[in-house]
Amino acid sequence: MNKFWIWLNQLGSPPNFWAWSQPWLRGCLALAFITLGIGLYGGLVMAPADYLQGESFRIIYIHVPSAWMSLFVFVFMAIQGAAALIWRIKLCEIFVVAAAPTGAVFTAVTLITGMLWGKPTWGTYWSWDARLTSELVLLFLYLGIIALYHSYSEHRAGARAASILALIGVVNVPIIHYSVVWWNTLHQGSTISLTGGSKMHISMLWPLLVLTLATKLYWIAVLLFKSRVLMLKLERSKTWARNALATNV
């Protein structure tokens, strides 16, 4: 077994994860606020208005990073769920459960900001087109995972059930991504692609990339925070958890 696997194995132990995660949480949160400030200033003040949509296009700076995160978090949960089911790793179970509420928030933000952008642009808040409907299904999947976990009195049984639902629900992610390609939708196609470049001018693009980084950093900080709280809750009878609760956490 190489050093990385040994380190990863040791990290799976709650006391080790507790000690390791504290500086990362603080660092990611601080960086998230810095990048958020820069990104918001760039998006709301520096970027020029769109020639067609006017000022309303500025909603893109929160809508698109949230939409990307809503898909990213679900894929993350499915991977962690698979690891939890195959190797029975406690930390992976905790990650599945801890990631779901923030994923639901990202999805809700995507839908609400999309509606608020749709009204001045399309003339309607909502349309039952493929992209909007599949994103709404994603929100229901997140809520289903949260409800399923809480319906069990025993944590590990609930986490396993949540992992199975995350694995089943991940099929919705490519449907959301390719919905604008497969079907004729009111929602516009991809503006930015990893392979095909960007249709946005650089003066509008850079704040979007900075805010994408900010949402990633914020999510890492929230995930670590929620995992730590859940870990304390599950291990509160253990000495390390009692000591951690007694100190300023």
């Binding site: 709301l44 208005a49 006017g54 000022e55 309303s56 500025r58 909603i59 929160i62 809508h63 949230s66 509420p101 923030t102 928030v105 809700a108 933000v109 609400i112 900001t113 608020l116 952008w117 009204k119 001045p120 914020y218 929230v222 925070f225 929620k226 709280v229 304390l232 809750k233 509160r236 009692r242 609760l245 007694a246 956490v249």
Partner: protein
């Protein structure tokens, strides 16, 4: 185009409120955990011998005390049956 700003302000406000709620839900959960831990400590529930009816006794001591107590109760019951006056018909 200035008519678009209410939509932009509403979008960003809702977004930050939801993120703040998500964060503070965990902060409240952590505070509740700390409060419970302090209360358990005050009640002594965090001691290594928590739940032990006779602190200082081992498990074997407790079992022996329990058996003695049960034995004594049984003896008292037997005695009360023996002390019962016999029915005249018997």
């Amino acid at each position: 185009m200035s008519g678009h700003w209410p939509y932009i302000i509403a979008a960003y406000t809702i977004c930050f409120v939801l993120f703040a709620l998500d964060w503070f839900a965990s902060v409240i959960e952590l505070k509740n955990l700390k409060r419970d831990s302090i209360m358990r400590q005050r009640r002594g529930a965090n001691r290594p011998d928590a739940g032990n009816p006779n602190p200082g006794n081992t498990k074997a001591d407790n079992m022996q005390a329990r058996n003695t107590e049960l034995g004594n109760k049984q003896a008292v019951r037997d005695q009360s049956v023996n002390d019962k006056p016999m029915d005249a018909s018997q």
